[in-house]
């Protein structure tokens, strides 16, 4: 069983837009209304989904994400600020 990361190296929960690149996160909350949220879930961003931020476009452009299923998405920053994520716990 892989050792748990040291506490001070694990980023605290925050919105997806501010999450560091290359660190896996888990979606813990949505601040987005019903219809749009259902659409986001359909395209692959669901609660408890694991997300990796690959890159961010300059000038507050979209984020390039990868899910644990291997899907990759471009996500507008205006959505990313309304999705809460926390560090993915344990090994997976």
């Amino acid at each position: 069983m892989p050792p748990a990361p040291a506490r001070d190296l694990v980023p605290p929960p925050r919105d997806l837009a501010g999450w560091p690149l290359g660190v896996w996160a888990r979606i813990v909350g949505f601040d987005i209304a019903g219809a749009e949220r259902r659409w986001l879930e359909a395209i692959g961003l669901a609660p408890d989904e694991d997300i990796l931020v690959l890159r961010r476009a300059p000038f507050r452009g979209p984020l390039h994400l990868r899910t644990s299923e291997g899907n990759e998405l471009a996500l507008d920053r205006r959505y990313a600020v309304r999705i809460q994520v926390a560090a993915r716990g344990g090994g997976r």
């Binding site: 300059p58 291997g70 990759e72 471009a74």
Partner: protein, 654 residues
């Protein structure tokens, strides 16, 4: 595991509805799931866009014959991520949902064939869960078999069927065996139709892991994306990305025109030959002239554009099938948002550089209705390929001193002006008409890079060509015929100095030109002179504009008729010089470079295309927006031409 594995889930039951109707198989699936590839594999290039009873939306459809002899209809619905999430009914997903609902309501035998990407199974199973609630027979077509097998993984089709309650087949759209495998599965459904699968709750992610034999270790999953990752490191880099994008677009457009040019010239030559033959057979009378100069010339213009249209369609399809299109949308999203558009507008805007007509239909992929409308309204300003001959003529006429590089740079400047116009128009329309609310945030799937399938690309190209001929070609021929009447039928006396003013260097049919000077079009052209004089235009240019009002493709041939030059289609020949040396009744030169610049700019903005107007009417279901587009583009064209003409005169080009 056998080659094609499908398991019937239970007892058969009669399907309610009109028993004599042919079965309609509806292909449903996420975008990028390989649905179009599979549809192409099943139907070849026979598919056409159909409007059929019971469904009011357009969808690609084709008829097939099963190996057992029955005839079925296959419909390819637009890709959709969900049938439950709230979507705008005019968007691709709204259309898919509406079509499915109507088919269900019609009572005719329907089979939903969902295409699932086996390299992305969990996501597709989300849609499967929704489909099981529709009360229609379901068949699961799991694709990308070749990709998965190359990694040593398999799909447990039985597990899928057991969990979902619908038969499943695992195929590879690229393989020749996919067609018989799928058709066998459909035949089996036809023979003993399964009852509509009752909705069984299942977790898409858990089921996907169960079905994918053994959950692949993390390294294997990463291997799937290694090529994509290394390419993206360059192509999506904040600096290298845009540079690569611009380079790709430049290569694309340059390449297309370099290839299309000789092709068009060859077609032009062939048409000349045909025209000569017609003259030999029918002589030189009025009827022969109508057929040759009205119909044949119009048809010839259409055919000459075909190489360009087909090549650009192929290029676009290659970009989309390879997966790069999504990267382009990602790179451009921020910039496009500055003008109230967004990443998804990238595809229609790019298509508009070939032809605005299919681009207008392509706006259905834009989820935000306001953004979709705005994109449609500014598409006529993108530099479509029909503007190029007009630009070429004007540049050759008024900037003859330019070498090849100078001409290329001028073209580039005109393209840039078109883009600038598009951006400004979008910003203005948003700020005024729509009381700007920012468009829906971008959410776009980024598929892994794939090698495009040649067969599918050629299929799309063939469809694009057919569509162009049908929707644009017919309009051009009709306009050409009407134009012939307006230009050839004399109305009253011409102006006293008419013939003398036309200093043709090689008048082959001066009588024709004299006739034209007395035609209805000429009269209208003269009547418009006070209006266009501030732009440096005279009645002859006005007639050219009247001619290109319906289709700007006809500008060059119309100018040829006005100035008495035959065969001005492919090789401009004497036309530029003739126009340049044309004189007014008092003997002075009729046109200065300022006029040329003004005319160029006029062409950049004016919507001179009845096909575009028609497409807008169809997509917006009304005449309000097409009328608005005609209005604002002509106002912009007039204003810009005025500014350029007066400005050029100030600088001494007048």
């Amino acid at each position: 595991m056998t080659e094609s594995c499908h398991v019937e889930p239970g007892h058969a039951g009669p399907r309610p509805g009109a028993a004599g109707d042919a079965l309609t198989v509806v292909l449903v699936g996420r975008p990028n799931s390989g649905k179009s590839s599979l549809f192409n594999a099943l139907t070849g290039s026979d598919a056409h866009v159909g409007n059929y009873p019971g469904v009011t939306v357009e969808a690609l459809e084709a008829r097939l014959q099963l190996p057992s002899g029955e005839s079925i209809r296959v419909i390819d619905l637009p890709g959709t991520y969900s049938l439950e999430a709230d979507v705008d009914p005019e968007s691709d997903e709204g259309i898919a949902r509406a079509a499915l609902a109507e088919l269900r309501a019609s009572g005719a035998p329907v089979l939903i064939a969902q295409v699932l990407d086996s390299t992305n199974l969990a996501a597709s199973l989300h849609l499967t869960g929704e489909l099981t609630g529709w009360g229609l027979p379901l068949l699961l077509l799991v694709t990308q078999r070749d990709v998965l097998e190359a990694e040593g993984r398999t799909v447990d089709v039985r597990a899928l069927t057991a969990a979902v309650g619908a038969p499943a087949v695992w195929v590879s759209a690229r393989s020749r065996t996919s067609r018989p495998e799928v058709l066998d599965a459909v035949t089996a459904q036809l023979r003993s139709p399964a009852p509509p699968a009752p909705p069984r709750p299942f977790n898409p992610r858990t089921l996907a892991h169960a079905a994918l034999a053994s959950a692949a270790p993390a390294e294997a999953r990463l291997a799937l994306h290694r090529r994509t990752e290394s390419l993206d490191r360059v192509l999506m880099h904040p600096v290298a990305g845009p540079v690569a994008f611009l380079a790709l677009m430049s290569v694309l457009f340059t390449g297309v025109f370099l290839i299309a040019e000789p092709a068009s010239a060859a077609v032009g030559g062939a048409l000349e030959w045909v025209g000569g033959g017609v003259r030999r057979v029918l002589g030189d009378g009025l009827v022969a002239s109508f057929f040759r100069d009205g119909i044949l010339r119009g048809a010839g213009t259409v055919v000459q554009f075909l190489p360009q249209i087909v090549l650009l369609t192929v290029a676009l399809e290659l970009i989309e099938a390879s997966g790069y299109l999504a990267r382009g949308a990602y790179l451009l999203d921020r910039l496009l948002r500055l003008f109230g558009l967004g990443g998804r507008s990238f595809v229609p805007l790019l298509m508009g550089h070939a032809c605005a007509v299919p681009a207008i239909a392509a706006t259905r992929a834009i989820r935000d209705p306001r953004q979709r409308l705005r994109t449609m309204l500014v598409l006529p300003l993108t530099t479509c390929s029909a503007r190029i001959p007009a630009y070429a003529l004007l540049i050759a006429t008024f900037l003859p001193q330019l070498g090849a590089l100078g001409r290329a740079l001028t073209f580039l400047a005109l393209y840039g002006l078109g883009l600038a116009g598009t951006a400004i128009a979008s910003a203005v329309i948003g700020g005024t008409l729509m009381r700007q609310r920012r468009s829906l945030p971008l959410v776009l799937e980024m598929p892994p890079y794939r090698r495009p399938e040649l067969r599918a690309v050629l299929s799309v190209a063939a469809r694009g060509a057919r569509r162009f001929l049908r929707e644009v070609g017919t309009v051009i021929v009709a306009v050409s015929a009407v134009l012939w009447v307006l230009l050839s039928v004399p109305v009253g006396q011409g102006p006293p100095a008419g013939p003398a003013a036309l200093a043709s260097t090689a008048p082959r049919q001066p009588e024709r030109t004299q006739l034209m000077a007395r035609s209805l079009a000429a009269r209208v052209g003269r009547a418009l002179e006070p209006v266009t004089a501030p732009l440096g235009f005279d009645w002859r240019i006005n007639v050219g504009l009247i001619g290109s009002f319906g289709a700007r493709e006809l500008m060059v041939s119309t100018m040829g008729i006005i100035f008495g030059i035959e065969s001005a289609d492919d090789d401009l020949g004497d036309l530029p010089q003739t126009i340049r040396e044309a004189r007014r009744p008092d003997g002075t030169r009729a046109y200065s470079p300022a006029t040329g610049f003004a005319l160029l700019v006029f062409f950049v903005f004016a919507c001179q295309c009845m096909s575009t107007v028609s497409a807008l009417r169809q997509e917006t279901r009304g005449w309000r927006w097409p009328a608005f587009v005609l209005g604002y583009t002509y106002v912009a064209a007039y204003a810009a031409a005025w500014v350029v003409y007066q400005g050029a005169r100030v600088f001494g080009w007048g």
